[in-house]
Symmetry: C2
Subunit: 417 residues, 2 copies
Amino acid sequence: MSKIKNIPTWVSIPEQSDFSVQNLPFGIFSVGKSSPRVGIAIGNQIIDLAAVAAYGLFVNLNFNVAVFEKSTLNDFIATGKTNWSSLRNRIQELLNEDNYELKSIAKEVLVPMEKATMHLPVSIGDYTDFYSSREHATNVGKLFRDPENALMPNWEHMPVAYHGRSSSIVVSGTDIRRPSGQTKTSAATAPSFGPTTSLDFELEMAFIIGKSTNLGDQVSTDQAEDHIFGMVLFNDWSARDIQKWEYVPLGPFLGKSFASSMSPWIVTLEALQPFKTDAVKKDTEILPYLKCVQDFNIDINLEAYIQPKNGEEELISTTNYKYLYWNYCQQLAHHTINGCNVNIGDLLASGTISGPDENSFGSLLEITAGGKKSLSLNNNVERKFLEDGDSITLCGFAQKDNVRVGFGEVTAKILPQ
Amino acid sequence: MSKIKNIPTWVSIPEQSDFSVQNLPFGIFSVGKSSPRVGIAIGNQIIDLAAVAAYGLFVNLNFNVAVFEKSTLNDFIATGKTNWSSLRNRIQELLNEDNYELKSIAKEVLVPMEKATMHLPVSIGDYTDFYSSREHATNVGKLFRDPENALMPNWEHMPVAYHGRSSSIVVSGTDIRRPSGQTKTSAATAPSFGPTTSLDFELEMAFIIGKSTNLGDQVSTDQAEDHIFGMVLFNDWSARDIQKWEYVPLGPFLGKSFASSMSPWIVTLEALQPFKTDAVKKDTEILPYLKCVQDFNIDINLEAYIQPKNGEEELISTTNYKYLYWNYCQQLAHHTINGCNVNIGDLLASGTISGPDENSFGSLLEITAGGKKSLSLNNNVERKFLEDGDSITLCGFAQKDNVRVGFGEVTAKILPQ
């Protein structure tokens, strides 16, 4: 693969910033009481696209720049892949160290991130959660079901998934209230009711649909990338005790639907292209509709941090998106093979991403073996599951040839019931 | 209970019409190339509410009548329960035989149903499918799992449910294409791919959320009716072979997400109040949050008809909404007990409604015992599952004191893959 092009810029970008000139992720921001609108992250600042457009710097773009004044990205996404790319090229041109068009009005159109409030970037019609990490599915199967037959027979043949709840997806920074529900220990004869005692995070990534389909259409693995706008970090909060009692036979419901958190910046698929890497080797023959002409994955470093109540933030997991057994092309091809339609803004999450060793587990369920052992933190703090006041932060970034394309973070604190 | 009031009207309403003066269901219709807008069904006609408003007959209503020009009911629903009721009272007044306000302009504001096209009545954010018929859950448990332990231990303690796919919900009359997918017989060592060979219908009803909640809010069984706008007939098409191979452990996915059909007219909860009846007796003690001050169900007669390709329509099931073990208040209380928010337009379906005997089964899976025996139809036609060209029609109506409040129908034909 060729080296990633270095793009010298006049904007000050801190070393190790996730938001390089090669990234340019999209989000929805507001300042004070202004209306939420479309922005692009660069270093520690946000490019106010509607403001830039008002200066006439987007006159050569082939779409109505009024989409930058909307409170979700859906209308901008609907302008299509060619326009996403034209805008990206134009922004890179404007940021180039030799260009003065934007530089001369920088104070008017660049907003410091610390002054901005970030909002949910897209209106999400449907949310699907896959289960595509073999390591995670195996770990959970051992704990919830049969240690000898942890992986279900269908798992190596299809990207298993379920429909999630889209209404309760919130943007990073939104506090999460501990949910109540029914739980039942195996010793009890009847269920009892109360706040969950096994609240967990799930380290995931998700992709956002960029091109809708009609009911009956199928998206092949080859076509899949044309239907994806970009990716985010995703934390699929889980109440393990509620989940365990409710999930047979129809799958997870209230154990998940109380909240999921997503990062505010959507990193485009175009920005992620240079970080493609080899796919996980599959020993089982898969059906033709799931094969990729060139199988691949993406090398994205992922980290989970816990900040216990009144404590200090600590790294508790280091994993990678590339560990997924099924890539996003296979996920989308599977999702639409029955003719199910997808819409712009739909969110398709990966499922918890665990790696091969204990330091790479993407949930407390796996880290503490279902609460059988404790996670030891600094200052003699121990955790089996999350306690009120704890915060979880997920980070992710791709890096190559000194170019970093990162996702920022998705963070949230647990409030008491 | 008091008798239902008779309301003499100047409108011609055919005997046994579902759409009586006591009903007044809401839908979205268009005529020719006109924009879809809000209508109320009366007899064989549709009241064009925007047209009535233009004549000034709604000047005493306390909301902006521009909501009648929208292509979904969501904005009208958002005006609130008091306004739904005021409009209902005003329409009943206008239809009264002594009233000439509407009668004098009837030709301008009443549209014959045969001239109208019906559309999906609401924009549906999230769709949830319950599993609240004990008979259905038992029948399916016997076929899919263990005949000795058909009902899961959680079933009598909670209204079990899963998230469905909202994008593929279509209005009655939309053809359904036979989906393809992975299936595996128990004898095979690997799955194979192709069109489903066990396409089925599911006779369901669904309710539509009428008042949104915030994340973290719980809706008690007592408050539930304030959050529900009305009900529809619902057919949750199912590919049994795809479902069987994919559904463990995360529940149904592609076996359902190719399509669900709903009836175009939403019957309001207010119109259904007179048909409340006793709840199913529960032998198992349930948790307090699922108890109703006065437990009830609704007496709605339900029927399923099949019209085999080139054949004649035949009744294949007669059941009743009142057979549901969990009523809609319990379903909504359970759904929100973890703080999950609901939005106006969300659709919550009952799950297949089967009754106690063989004539009351709400799916072919149950009627043919999973394809083990044939359903015998006229002219020596037999069916185990649906064939291309077959149509399924579901009907439903409540009736008491010579007053009928019906749902019309939800019908669809199967197209080949």
